[in-house]
């Protein structure tokens, strides 16, 4: 399709727009790039005032932790191929080796296998090969950039961060599942009902969304801690202490997130023509059947987008999780915040940065995988009203 002449852009506009985008991407990514760099340096280097010292890490090299030119070239090459493989060959292999009904399982196995192979190659085999190469390479084998993974090791192995990671997965998974189940039903009901009650529910939800969370959360704590006593008359001895339970936190986060979820999903369902489910109802379906047979197959773009927002809320929450979970069930974000209290050292801070990068990595992956769905889900309807 040839662009009409009037649509074609003058060079100045194209250049300006490209320059603006470059600048924005720089601003958007730089702070995050910088903490990534800091996380690999010794504490003294990471907080240096001189950016070059942070990048090259002289004290990190002095401590014997550095990468030579060979390390850099080979390491980057392996990384590049690993990423390429993940986006090209891996999907092909998954498709080739799995039966149509088991795609999700196939992906799970595929990703796990990929992760294992990558870890063995990158952290097991590669260092051995590189050590041998560096030993014989002379000046090329001398370290030029300080880089140490000790903070990551301290965080994940020494401080058992994987516990927090698992807890985060449980809480986030629970929040997304429950939030979407409850929210989809409500969103559909609200979209198909023109009653004033529906309108006022939405307005009430909007006001609920505006409530400062700190008030809500502080109100939960005494009730959650004493819930066994409070609920004993109703539930007998089975009455649970809600404090510290991931389930209780999931419920709270779902409730806090409901207003946004039902608004998003309502406008999404509104963009699905009413005729669709009316036709199904003429064929003798009840509302629920119509929802299951007709609406569910077409609702996924909107649900995935909304689910991503729920995911972000559950994953990034600090106020609720820090107060209502005990140490066994602590998620990652409050765990990190603990590094910054009154009693920390510079090493703790450097480790906190490594932990912060570790938290961010899954978010990266998530957006990479779902990026197209976010835009298409929003385009499909959630943005129409």
């Amino acid at each position: 399709m040839a662009t009409p002449k009037a649509m074609r852009q003058p060079a100045s506009l194209r250049f300006g727009s490209a320059a603006f985008l470059t600048l924005w991407c720089l601003i958007a990514a730089f702070p995050l790039f910088w903490i990534l760099v800091m996380s690999f340096k010794s504490p003294a280097d990471a907080f240096d005032a001189n950016p070059l010292a942070v990048i090259f890490g002289p004290r990190t090299i002095a401590a014997g932790k550095g990468l030579s030119v060979i390390d850099l070239v080979l390491g980057l090459a392996v990384l590049w191929y690993a990423v390429r493989f993940a986006f090209t060959r891996l999907p092909q292999m998954v498709r080739a080796f799995t039966a149509p009904g088991l795609v999700i399982l196939g992906w799970l196995v595929g990703c796990l296998g990929y992760a294992v192979v990558f870890i063995v190659l990158f952290f097991g085999l590669l260092p051995v090969v590189l050590d041998a190469l560096n030993a014989i390479a002379g000046p090329l084998g001398q370290p030029v950039i300080g880089l140490t993974a000790e903070h990551y090791r301290a965080v994940w192995v020494g401080n058992e961060f994987y516990r927090n990671f698992i807890n985060s997965l449980i809480v986030t998974g629970g929040v997304v599942t429950v939030s979407l189940t409850v929210g989809t039903l409500a969103g559909y009901g609200l979209a198909r009902s023109g009653s004033n009650l529906a309108f006022w529910l939405l307005i009430a939800a909007l006001i609920f969304r505006a409530l400062p969370h700190s008030v809500l959360v502080a109100g939960y704590l005494p009730v959650f801690i004493n819930s066994a006593e409070i609920l004993r008359p109703i539930l007998g001895d089975a009455a649970p202490t809600l404090y510290g339970q991931p389930l209780a936190v999931i419920a709270v986060l779902v409730a806090i997130n409901q207003p946004f979820t039902i608004w998003m999903l309502r406008s999404f369902f509104q963009s699905i023509p009413v005729e669709l489910d009316e036709a199904a109802r003429v064929d003798g379906c009840t509302h629920l059947q119509a929802f299951r047979r007709v609406i569910m197959p077409v609702m996924w773009p909107g649900v995935i987008t909304t689910g991503l927002f729920s995911f972000l809320l559950g994953y990034n929450d600090f106020l609720v999780t820090s107060l209502l979970l005990d140490a066994q069930n602590q998620t990652m974000v409050p765990a990190i915040a603990g590094y910054f209290n009154r009693e920390t050292t510079t090493t703790d801070q450097a480790e906190a940065i490594a932990a912060a990068v570790s938290i961010t990595a899954p978010l990266f992956l998530l957006v990479m995988v779902f990026q197209r769905q976010i835009v298409s889900g929003l385009t499909a309807g959630a943005v129409k009203g």
């Binding site: 039903l185 990026q371 835009v375 929003l378």
Partner: protein, 340 residues
């Protein structure tokens, strides 16, 4: 849809919101008119406390709550009307400041200081978020298809990152001898202390907010741009509309509902800003309303918390949000009436 069916669909969601939001909200509302205090007794207590070599024992009159037979602290709850609100708003000091001809002193009262900053923060960031979001969306829409994916990915980063971490990553660039500050210092050859300067901290907090929310606006607008009616655009071109006019009269009106949506969400979120104060440790310079509420609720070493004032402050925050939301809400109401 019949009411029963509607109730079945909406029920679980409404139940959760009632239990976890509406009931606490109701109790906050009630508590803002009440003061609950322990019954205090004054008794002489001899306490011995550790020193490095030997103890020091002192006998002092101490105030202690009375404990009843069942081992609980005895408390009384009084209705105090608007007293907690008055403690928060401190109208006497406000009038004193005005009658002394020094209205600037009003801003030394925590609530008014928080309100001033929260409002400025909300209203200044709003156009920036919408404007920047729209600009990025237009620029991305204008970019070559081959790089769009990567650009969208990078653009979304500030939005998805955990707020505490995002704020800290920016703080480290500026506070103390952060690299950006050091660079500015060499460039301007002056000594810059960002955290010591209220205006600079304020600007930094706004920068962080725009940085982290603009991507959300961007992705919504970008999705909206995909559905712009091409026929309308083409006929506008035939009518000889300039690029600017097409933006002004075709694209922006098309995106208007989205702009309202973004504005609504942003107003709500910015008005209860909280992470910025913690992330940038700005409490000496700038505080927000939610931070004020949070601060009232944080127990001190002795376990005291100002529940009543916190409740009052939360209610005032709510009222503020409702006032700010009224214009967009009226629009929603009209739409609703138009549909049904």
């Amino acid at each position: 849809m019949k009411f029963r069916t509607f109730a079945a669909f909406v029920g679980p969601s409404v139940f959760m919101m009632v239990v976890f939001i509406a009931l606490p909200l109701a109790s906050v509302f009630v508590q803002s008119f009440q003061v609950t205090q322990p019954v205090i007794e004054r008794i002489e207590v001899e306490s011995c406390t550790a020193g490095f070599l030997e103890q020091t024992c002192t006998t002092q009159v101490k105030t202690r709550p009375k404990i009843n037979e069942s081992g609980q602290v005895e408390t009384t709850t009084r209705w105090v009307g608007l007293e907690s609100y008055a403690n928060l708003l401190q109208f006497d000091r406000v009038w004193a400041a005005i009658s002394n001809g020094e209205p600037g002193r009003i801003l030394q009262i925590d609530f008014w200081r928080a309100l001033r900053f929260t409002l400025t923060f909300t209203l200044v960031t709003l156009p920036l978020v919408v404007g920047l979001g729209l600009a990025i969306a237009l620029a991305v829409n204008n970019a070559a298809r081959s790089i769009r994916g990567q650009v969208i990915f990078v653009s979304l980063l500030p939005f998805i990152i955990t707020p505490v971490i995002g704020a800290l990553s920016i703080r480290w660039l500026f506070y103390g001898d952060g690299i950006v500050t050091s660079w500015l210092e060499t460039w301007l050859s002056t000594d810059i202390s960002v955290a010591a300067n209220g205006a600079a901290v304020e600007a930094l907090m706004m920068f962080y907010r725009v940085w982290s929310v603009a991507p959300f606006a961007f992705v919504i607008f970008y999705a909206g741009l995909q559905t712009v009616n091409q026929d309308t655009l083409e006929s506008a071109i035939i009518d000889g509309a300039s690029r600017w006019q097409r933006l002004r009269f075709v694209i922006v009106p098309h995106l208007m509902p989205l702009i309202v949506f973004i504005a609504l969400i942003h107003l709500m979120d910015a008005y209860r800003a909280f992470e910025e104060v913690v992330g940038f440790s700005s409490q000496a310079q700038r505080i927000t309303l939610q931070w004020l509420t949070y601060d009232f609720l944080q127990p001190d070493d002795a376990g005291n918390r100002s529940i009543s004032r916190a409740s009052a402050s939360a209610m005032l925050t709510m009222i503020g949000i409702v006032i700010i939301l009224l214009p967009p809400l009226r629009r929603t109401w009209r739409d609703h009436k138009g549909i049904s």
